[in-house]
Amino acid sequence: MSILNWTYLFVGLSFSLYLYIAWRVRVKDTQGFYVAGRGVPAYANGMATAADWMSAASFISMAGLISTMGYAGSVYLMGWTGGFVLLALCLAPYLRKLGHFTVPEFIGDRFESNPARLIAILCAIFISFTYVAGQMRGVGVVFSRFLNVDISMGVYIGMAIVFVYATLGGMKGITWTQVAQYWVLITAFLVPTIAISIQLTGHTFPSIGMGSNLIENSISDQSKFLLDALDDSLRDFGWHAYTESFKGKWSQFNVFATALTLMVGTAGLPHVIVRFYTVKNVQAARWSAFWALFFISILYLSAPSLASFARYNMIHSLNGTSENNLPNWFKSWEKTGLILWLDDGDYQVRYTGDSSNEIFRSGKLNPSQLNQIKSEHELWLNSNYMEGTDGRAIMLDKKLNGPDRDIIMLAAPEMANLSNWIIAFVAAGALAAALSTASGLLLVISSSVANDLYYRTINPKASEKNQLLVGRCSIAFAVIIAGYFGLNPPGFVGQVVAFAFGLAAASFFPAILLGIFNKRVGTIPAIFGMLSGIILTAYYIIYCVFLSGSPWTFGIIENGIAPEAFGMIGMLVNFAVTLLLTPLFPPPSKQMQEKIESVRKPELI
């Protein structure tokens, strides 16, 4: 069977499974809609949290990021899993004891202020939308490559599926669907990774394979460690070595600050915190946190292995290949524009880290711009470099050198010549990852609007039925907006992700942490703390990314602070402002102090 048929089979089967589950567990009240009636067992909740947590970014992009960044890619591994530890230890158990549905609800209640609630709602919605847009793009990429449908058709199908099971089942439906999605995505990730590991190193466990010797074959020296061989090849082709630390923009400060920002930012992500309300008591919440991280770690320990395998395979399968024997995977991915080749005239592919590189990606260029560059380049070649322009210089200037990192995971099975069904299965896994996260986020958007904004702020007398209606309508509305971003992917999605984590780090984390561990912090210091963190971080990222300002160095930081790393500074400013203002303003009400005190007692079983 062809890849296409296999893909239709797997995607069709998995989608019908999700819809069947959503139908079986549909709900009728707000408790079930937002927190699954608090009746989900710890391991299942852990699995659902893991699927929710691992987005298209984890499944599709992360291996690619590590693959191209090498050591510096560790910030994503450490940042995203380390943030989970912070969440499980410092935030979740206490929020769970206080019994709030959402982060904005906690912030609004704890600091006894509707403006604080509103700031939190706006942040939660912004962060969620940024994330959803990324998921929808992931769905579009997968559909356009594997199902040969138009990207827009793919996004419509994705929207319809998410809409049906999110509105029908609410949190309960989403939770059980995510359990199924976890199995689909983890199998889809492990099968090709294990197969490639066996192929390259002979080890079944990819994490061990990564640190082992290469199997003797035509392209590798015998008995050389995979990582050493990779380091050597990268140096030979003009990059820095894979395992080498602190290169270029990734100075030690930036690696440290970015890892910390991602940790703290993930801990503040609203769609994951809400998962800790779906189990019946604090003890179960702790177990569910353990299971979630356990299930997440299975993918996160394999991803760096896949990243190194794929980099090794890509360098060796492309370099020196002539025009006539280009690998098949290259031809099928070339159509998507995620990878393209501009020859220098010798009909041999060169994929390197210096100016002789011939492998690029189309990035944000539209088809006509791309065609112009290609025809100018052709003219340049045919006229013996007299007329036209060298396309490679233009692409390098636009920083479009190297393939799009998203193809590393998706094309890895093809690069390793694995069977068609494995390649197709990866497509189903990527869709599961994107859809599970998208649905969780849409629920956060809907609960922020229906519960926090509508019920708690606008119409506190709303009936149960009314709230549920507003919840479902806002999901529908959110799906449409997310779909719009999927169809017209804003060029800035990648940069906005830095924004989402930076803002979450600078706003939520300090406010929640101080709200739990400090009884004295009152309304005004908390609001000023959040605002100063948000405004400073937003200002710096806009200044750096959108206005191309030069990064601040404070005279000591080599290469300046990367925008991704700035969340750490925003967070410190938030902490500092809040704590400095606290003694000057009144403490929270007696009632609130008692409530915080109640968290410090063991919960009755």
């Binding site: 590590i66 050591y71 890619g73 560790s74 591994l77 450490m78 899993t81 380390g82 989970f84 530890v85 912070l86 499980a88 230890l89 410092c90 158990p93 994490s207 061990i208 990564m210 640190g211 082992s212 010797n213 460690f225 995979l226 990582l227 050493d228 395992t243 630390s245 602190f246 030690q252 690696v255 440290f256 890892a259 910390l260 604090v282 003890q283 702790r286 177990w287 946190a289 353990f290 991280l293 356990f294 770690s297 996160y300 320990l301 760096p304 410090r600 007692k601 063991p602 919960e603 009755l604 079983i605």
Partner: protein, 92 residues
Amino acid sequence: MKNKTNNLPIKNNLYWKTNLKVLITLLFFWFLFSLGFGILWVDFLNQFSLFGSGFKLGFWFAQQGSIIAFVFIVLIYALLMNRIDKRYQIKR
């Protein structure tokens, strides 16, 4: 009866203190295994390799070791805290 109500806040306080102790200890290891071994001291650790494998030690902590440590930290937290919860439950 009077005694019991007087004792209550002190015992609860002890529960909270134990809770904080567990938290701070685990956060110390959280920092050590990731930001510490994986970033701050990575170049020093990279002189060594992990049990003679192809992994440089610092690189291994950054891409594998930290994640393994995280799973254990959350496991120990769940075991310890649930036990502490139970102990203070009985005393009450």
